[in-house]
Subunit: 216 residues, 2 copies
Amino acid sequence: MIQTFSHTDLNNLDNRFRSTLINSISGFKSLQLVGTLSPDDRSNLAVFNSIFHLGANPPLIGMVVRPDGNEHSTLKNIISQKFYTLNNVRESFYKDAHQTSARYAEGDSEFKNCNFTEQYISDFSAPFVGESNIKIGLELKQIIPVELNNTNIIIGEIKLIQFEDGILSDDGFINLNQAGSVTVAGLDSYYTTAPLSRLAYAKPGKEPMIINNQNI
Amino acid sequence: MIQTFSHTDLNNLDNRFRSTLINSISGFKSLQLVGTLSPDDRSNLAVFNSIFHLGANPPLIGMVVRPDGNEHSTLKNIISQKFYTLNNVRESFYKDAHQTSARYAEGDSEFKNCNFTEQYISDFSAPFVGESNIKIGLELKQIIPVELNNTNIIIGEIKLIQFEDGILSDDGFINLNQAGSVTVAGLDSYYTTAPLSRLAYAKPGKEPMIINNQNI
């Protein structure tokens, strides 16, 4: 048995139902804690699930920012300070990461309220999350306003990476599974992962080849 | 022990190593098979891992398209035909999905070469994947060229959804885990998921509350 929603059906859905449906249907998502500082040096931490890989050379990461609440503080800080951090969410603290989405008063740091350690690495000006074991420092490169739904796409260039020893493969692959990173569906459903395999570069006329089914 | 890559370190990396590193570091990604038709009605199917939720009202999904090979055919078809499909990748056929990334000759359909069934739903003009159990039909709304790295961000509006009975919760949540959807790290490492929990809307001063740790 199957269920079908036409364009008209989708338009007629209750707003909250549609939001939950559309948020969850596009697949498992990247999850990162975004660390920023305000112009008067107050730290902010917010969980984002709309992070996407944009390119490797130069190393660029995209992120969708909505016009509301917490995300707005993050955007303001990124615009004024230019530097921000992404920090992976691990199984051991995914509930605290979710808690950063609560609407704390502006300037009331989610680091303190949600049990995270503010960490500074060399001269990078934005705060990292001490509890994360994969940390990325970015510099704002472009803000693309999307008029279709009043969101902004923030593009940053990776300026610094720090991660735990032992999760980097010889060819550059970072082992998120071994790092304990979790993924999310919709806005609120968290998952650990279990490796299937790593597959070789695909070529016409050949069967997909497993290059690694252990250390991923 | 930790490892750190500065901006200079990143610039000095071998291109292939950096590509693997940057592709994998941003987190687990959404994975979808993108189905299109050419103007002369030849089907094309390509696996994409740069899909992101842009908004629920209107229901919008974004996708990064690179200027090379297979992705270029998908982009050409989307521009000329306006309609395209996203189809979830399940554990049972993730190797065939990966195989669609091989460079087949233009017009030599990945549906046929990679063992997928071309499916048409009502009057939607682009082909769906018969083997998928979550299918999304989209209409092109906007193409945003990103000059920083010569990619394009494609934004589509959801016009049709079809999925297997039993994976939709009462509140609109689509159960990707139960559907057998997989996630990907980097370009080639595939994972199944295991539920942690679904958490309630976060509020300041309250502990994160589990609203569901079974049916997600």
